[in-house]
């Protein structure tokens, strides 16, 4: 399974958020750091 490597470009992706608004990782480049949290389940 592919993994992200340190100090390499993080793979870009876009997904609609839960309200339907599209989130694209690269939209935040030059503006913000992003902490991606891969969550298991909400319990």
């Amino acid at each position: 399974m592919p993994r992200v490597s340190l100090n390499q470009p993080a793979p870009d992706f876009s997904l609609p958020d839960f309200s339907g608004k599209t989130f694209r990782l690269s939209d935040l480049h030059g503006q913000k750091n992003v902490l991606l949290v891969f969550n298991r389940t909400f319990v």
Binding site: V4, P9, A10, F13, F18, H29, N33, L35, L36
Partner: protein
């Protein structure tokens, strides 16, 4: 999630957008974020497209997913990658804040 929310203002102060990706659908995300008053961006990923792209490990024995965190800096470079080895294997906020301070202070190391 509660751990991250507790220090949300510190993330904001450090120009960090917290983005939660999970296997639940939009309705489950909306319900949970509302119930817990989470200020984060929540991305339902029921097809696991991003989860697979980033290689989140699936624990076949527990049929659950291991937590993982990736810190992406303003140039889009992954500066910190943590793949948990158990459900509770999540780095403390203080550790993440230190890393963000370092990332904000130092340019991307180029090979």
């Amino acid at each position: 999630m509660a751990q991250l929310r507790q220090d949300y203002s510190q993330f904001v102060a450090r120009d960090v957008e917290v983005v939660v990706v999970g296997p639940e659908d939009a309705a489950a995300f909306a319900a949970y974020f509302q119930k817990e008053s989470l200020p984060f961006t929540g991305l339902p990923d029921p097809k696991a497209s991003v989860l697979k792209l980033y290689g989140q490990e699936v624990n076949l024995f527990k049929l659950g997913r291991m937590p993982a965190q990736v810190l992406v800096d303003k140039t889009g470079t992954a500066r910190f990658v943590h793949y948990g080895h158990s459900m509770s294997d999540i780095p403390p906020n203080a550790e993440i804040m230190e890393l963000v301070d370092e990332v904000n202070a130092t340019p991307v190391p180029r090979p």
